[in-house]
């Protein structure tokens, strides 16, 4: 073995083995990560329930006369929501360097995209409610509970983003030394985005398999 270079050497060298990881995370970061972990478990339980009820139900899914879900609107929703994490990342990187303008612009962009997602969700509901509701059968119950619960999370995330925007517009709130709240809200927003992808696969794509 040579003593220079190489991934293995980098990972097993004295410096790597004596460096403590993770390190220096503030309490707020840990609190938000654990909160997201418990929230993610909640979504996992709901999506698990979806598959359990589906496979216990029988081969015909969705049951009754309900068509397989149409994909146009949900794919549009994905196209709006998933990229909405980018302006948050951009804003967070900005404020870490003390750039207040980038923080405000990024948050505003995310706010617009998130509101667009909720508007599309309303269109999607208006369309689906013509065919089935929450009380039609278990498929309707699952569809509206899971998408509604996620929509509620988007609303909470947007409230956080709007709250950050209001605080940053006031001034005197965030800077390169003080941006913990921005990072925590960003973690939550990324989580809301990621969960949507799992919902897209479960609610919209899996019945077509």
């Amino acid at each position: 073995m040579t003593d220079r270079g190489g991934v293995v050497a980098a990972a097993t060298g004295v410096a790597a083995l004596t460096t403590e990881e993770p390190v220096g995370r503030p309490t707020g970061w840990w609190g938000m990560v654990l909160f997201v972990a418990t929230e993610a478990t909640l979504f996992a339980c709901l999506l698990g329930s979806y598959f359990y009820l589906r496979f216990q139900f029988g081969p015909q899914w969705p049951p009754g006369g309900v068509d397989k879900p149409k994909l146009l609107i949900p794919l549009l929703m994905t196209a709006v929501l998933v990229p909405s994490s980018l302006p948050v990342i951009w804003a967070e990187h900005g404020i870490r360097r003390g750039r207040r303008g980038r923080l405000r612009a990024g948050l505003a962009a995310t706010l617009v995209l998130g509101l667009g997602f909720l508007a599309l969700l309303a269109v999607e509901y208006a369309e689906n409610l013509k065919h089935f509701t929450m009380t039609t059968d278990v498929y309707g119950s699952l569809f509206y509970l899971i998408t509604g619960f996620h929509g509620l999370h988007v609303l909470v995330g947007l409230t956080m983003i709007g709250w950050l925007l209001a605080a940053s517009l006031r001034g005197g709130s965030f800077g390169s030394h003080r941006h913990e709240r921005v990072r925590n809200a960003a973690i939550y927003w990324h989580f809301v985005d990621t969960v949507w992808v799992a919902i897209l696969f479960t609610i919209y794509l899996s019945p077509r398999l």
Binding site: V23, W30, T41, C45, Q56, R97, G171, G172, S173
Partner: protein, 642 residues
């Protein structure tokens, strides 16, 4: 230094005065509602949980009175249903976990050498939510609307067409409400244990009780969502006509059971693990040595926390699932006895190698080992599917889980109460009274529950409000009832002992037991700031260790005194290297307001007053927004570029 009687000679009088000024909370009504001191909050958890324990215990006494004789009419079947449901629900959710969280709240910051929890205001919020959720659930009993479906609330009986009225709405909403408290408490424990340990307390020097609390908190994070999802779906089924558990709409009744036990089995360990942690914390003082096999016990705690997520189906061996899944869960249920066994043998070895000091806490620990092992033995029997199917839903099950929960949780809690009473109240308890309490509770417990193994094997089903004389269950039931009165008498003596200690007990020294963990190195009761000097920890038994002691006296440094503000230390997650001093929050009304708004929300949902619920949600959002609103700082301090 001057010749004062200061606890730490190296800390000046002016330092102590400044600490007192920054941390003191005046004894006023305002301070009572706004406190964020983990010691006051911990005491409240203990007292409130004990209050719910008394209510749930009295429910049990009424049931035992009803069952003393065949075909008696002390209560109606409907009342009996509500009594056994509230007994189980309150004992599990409103007593066991909050009681242990109370110990954790009081002790974790003291044991790790910190001045408070990581999120003091969240801590206060968690207590208020627990109190309100408990009152929310118990308040339904006088209205005859208490949950009546058994504590695990199986479908389809929990559906509105089979069980009309508010009963199960109270259950679903009450547990969702309480879950907010449990989750916030769990997050707080984990972050506190990761970031606020005294410098030098690397992970291999963390007290076993703290390990147990942290493992429990992780289990809460990953187990409680299953119960919350279950209850949310139940409430939607009952109130808004969805069909999750309703086969006529394509739902499935077994989904309830799966989700309930995915939470429910970890919950058994959520209750037992911190109690086992109490045992590990109490033993060193009464065996005069550290607990044997520290690393193995830590590994056992972590192993139990993980394996407990893979055994839930052993609660469902009688539901007709595929045989293959029974085999898997049967095996997993057998495997989980190994880490529990490791802990038992470690404690036995500790007692064998140590020098026993026979005081009341040790008596309760020994009572715990005897009772818990018997309960564990019947537990291993349930892991065998064939046996389980024979005795399921009989009094054998009732006997088993009372052995596990009274033996495995209540006895350690009682050991903990006697052990830490001097630290919590600053007073010693009466030893003779404590011994009477132990022997009465221990005898009463076995006289009550041992005969239930027999009545169960004789075929008596659980949850029947009465029985006929023909099967020959009368005698054993009468024995159980007599035992339950003995047990109640023993527990009453515990209460008398605590009140006596608070009123008349002689003042306790800082370290009456010569214990090993950090809470014994500070005053009894501790000052609001806990430690005049945050210690530098040098070993697993810091209070027995001269070098750690020196770090708070002659070796005290200003970076661990931190008297210029309400401050404590952050250290690194694994090795507990000093990172920085941080300011801790001041007392606040906001936690109480937030919990009150949530109480309004859940009550409005229960009574279908949805506009009020919407207003309550807005108040909740506004309170959180104000709570976390960043203070205005000058640009130089913030670091703003443009």
């Amino acid at each position: 230094m001057s010749t004062t009687t200061s606890t730490a000679p190296a800390v000046g009088r002016d330092d102590l005065a400044r600490l007192a000024e920054h941390w003191a909370e005046p004894r006023s009504l305002r301070s009572w509602f706004t406190t964020v001191d983990h010691k006051r909050i911990g005491r409240r958890y203990l007292v409130t949980a004990a209050f719910f324990f008394v209510l749930a215990g009295l429910s049990a006494l009424v049931m035992r009175t009803q069952l003393a004789r065949p075909e008696s009419g002390v209560v109606s079947p409907q009342e009996y249903n509500q009594l056994f449901t509230m007994h189980g629900t309150a004992m599990i959710f409103l007593f066991a976990t909050p009681m242990l969280f109370g110990f954790g709240n009081f002790l974790v910051p003291l044991m790790i050498g910190s001045r408070d929890m990581a999120f003091p205001r969240l801590n206060a919020f968690g207590y208020w939510v627990f109190l309100f959720a408990g009152l929310f659930m118990w308040a339904s009993l006088p209205f005859g609307a208490a949950p009546n479906n058994g504590w695990f609330a199986y479908a389809p009986l929990n559906q509105v067409q089979h069980n009309p009225g508010l009963h199960m709405d109270v259950y679903a909403l009450g547990l969702l409400f309480l879950g907010i408290s449990t989750t916030s408490g769990a997050i707080n424990f984990i972050v506190t244990a990761l970031k606020l340990r005294a410098p030098g307390m690397s992970l291999n020097r963390v007290p076993l009780f703290v390990w147990a609390i942290v493992a429990t908190a992780f289990m809460v994070i990953f187990a409680l969502p299953a119960l919350n999802a279950d209850n949310a779906m139940l409430f939607f089924d009952r109130r808004f006509g969805t069909h999750f558990f309703d086969p006529s709409g394509g739902g499935n009744v077994l989904l309830w059971q799966h989700l309930f036990w995915i939470f429910g089995h970890p919950d058994v360990y959520i209750i037992v693990l911190p109690a086992l942690g109490i045992v590990s914390a109490v033993l060193p003082a009464f065996t005069r040595r550290g607990v044997v096999a520290y690393s193995l016990i830590v590994l056992s705690i972590v192993a139990i926390a993980i394996i407990s997520f893979g055994v839930w189906v052993h609660h469902m061996f009688a539901t007709g699932l595929p045989q293959l899944s029974y085999s898997f869960f049967s095996a997993a249920s057998t495997v989980i006895t190994i880490p529990s066994g490791i802990q038992i043998f470690a404690w036995l070895a500790t007692m064998l190698l140590g020098r026993l000091v026979s005081r009341v806490p040790l008596l309760f620990v020994i009572g715990f080992i005897v009772t818990f092992v018997l309960g564990g033995f019947t537990g291993a029997m349930f892991a065998l599917t064939a046996f389980d199917q024979q005795v399921t839903d009989s009094y054998f099950v009732v006997a088993h889980f009372h052995y596990v929960l009274i033996g495995g949780a209540v006895f350690p809690m009682l050991a903990g109460i006697y052990y830490w009473l001097p630290k919590i109240t600053g007073r010693m308890y009466h030893e003779g009274l404590g011994r009477w309490a132990f022997w009465l509770a221990f005898t009463g417990m076995h006289v009550t529950f041992f005969p239930m193994h027999l009545t169960g094997l004789f075929g008596m089903p659980r949850r029947v409000y009465t029985y006929r004389s023909e099967p020959g269950w009368d005698g054993w039931n009468l024995v159980s009832t007599v035992g339950s009165y003995l047990l109640a008498l023993g527990l009453l003596l515990v209460l008398v002992g605590v009140v006596h200690a608070v009123r008349r007990g002689r003042p306790a020294p800082a370290d009456p037991w010569e214990g090993d963990s950090l809470e014994w190195s500070t005053a009894s009761p501790p000052e609001p700031y806990n430690f005049p000097v945050i210690p530098r920890v040098r070993s697993l038994h810091p209070t027995w260790d001269a070098r750690t002691a020196e770090s708070t006296t002659t070796g005290a440094t200003a970076d661990r005194v931190l008297s210029d503000g309400r401050r404590t230390l952050f250290t690194s997650e694994l090795d507990a290297r000093t990172e920085r001093a941080v300011a801790m929050p001041e007392p606040s009304y906001k936690p109480l307001v937030l919990a009150g708004a949530l109480l309004v929300f859940f009550t409005a949902m229960l009574l279908a007053a949805y506009p009020i619920a919407v207003v309550a949600v807005l108040v909740v959002a506004a309170t959180i927004a104000a709570w976390l609103w960043p203070p205005r700082r000058p640009d130089e301090e913030l670091g703003v570029a443009s």
